[in-house]
Symmetry: C2
Subunit: 144 residues, 2 copies
DNA sequence: CTACAAGCTCAAGTCGACTTGAGGTCAAGA
DNA sequence: TCTTGACCTCAAGTCGACTTGAGCTTGTAG
């Protein structure tokens, strides 16, 4: 079982070293030891980081991700809270799909002003009235 | 055609007055005039705010929303950029669906540690390798 | 006419998730 | 042994989207 230093982890996951340290500080991950000052991680760190990346890409805060599946893999959230989160995700998905349709329409519709296009307004009316039971957040997911 | 003051707009849209002023300052919307100091808005503001809310709920920055459909309704973005954004949304949707499945599994799986559950790891492996062509951001979408 | 609630402006603050920078440490190669 | 480069810590900074607070203005009800 090979131990990885932080540069190997960043290489294999694309997660910045500063972010990894940040996650450790917040208790989302733990290093298995040190060589001198340098952190050493077990191979499971790769899955854990994939999970953190996925969770935060989906709009959960680090604290929420931590609650969903902590470093030990045991969720700190109740079953009900997890189901609520899954429902939130479904609503978020609906919204995204809705916006995607709207954007497609904008790209294709010849009307000079979309607000005057009845189809656009109809699409617009469909969305945005449901409440989320837990917070969902959004931040930069990726670039170019 | 009735004019609305800012409190009526917040009432009908749920968007805070401070946010509305912020959007105006950033050029996403414009008020049609003033009564004394107080801003007056035309009824189209309701659709415009719905659009802004939807767009930013979907992870776009205010600048991006502004580009997608400015206050005049004419998109400042090329058709290609719009299609790219729509594709990004599709990828984001995939990720969200993926995480939802993972969370459902976490809620239902009896394994003490998810990292040891083969199904969990299989689900985990499926996601998180696609690139977005434009930035997608995430922020607070709603609460409770 | 006067008071007041509601809005206004402008500057500063907040929050989350990192990033950056200064200055320090240390394992390993020459 | 000496040097170096990779890492370290800790404090401070950044970014976006607002929110908050202080102090000012004004249409409208009494």
């Amino acid at each position: 079982m090979k131990l990885l230093d932080i540069s190997e982890v960043t290489q294999q996951t694309g997660v910045a070293a500063s972010a990894i340290r940040h996650y450790e500080e917040k208790g989302l991950i733990t290093s298995v030891g040190r060589r001198g000052l340098k952190r050493l991680f077990g191979p499971e760190i790769l899955d854990q980081l994939a999970l953190i990346t996925l969770g935060s890409a989906a709009g959960f805060s680090l604290d929420e991700v931590k609650g969903m599946f902590g470093p030990d893999g045991r969720p700190a959230l109740s079953r009900q809270m997890l189901f609520d989160k899954a429902d939130d995700l479904d609503r978020q998905i609906e919204q995204l799909a809705h916006l995607r349709d709207l954007i497609h329409h904008v790209a294709e519709c010849p009307a000079p002003s979309h607000m005057e296009c009845p189809k656009f307004r109809r699409l617009l009316r469909l969305g945005g009235k449901k409440k989320l039971t837990t917070q969902a957040r959004k931040k930069r997911v990726g670039k170019l």
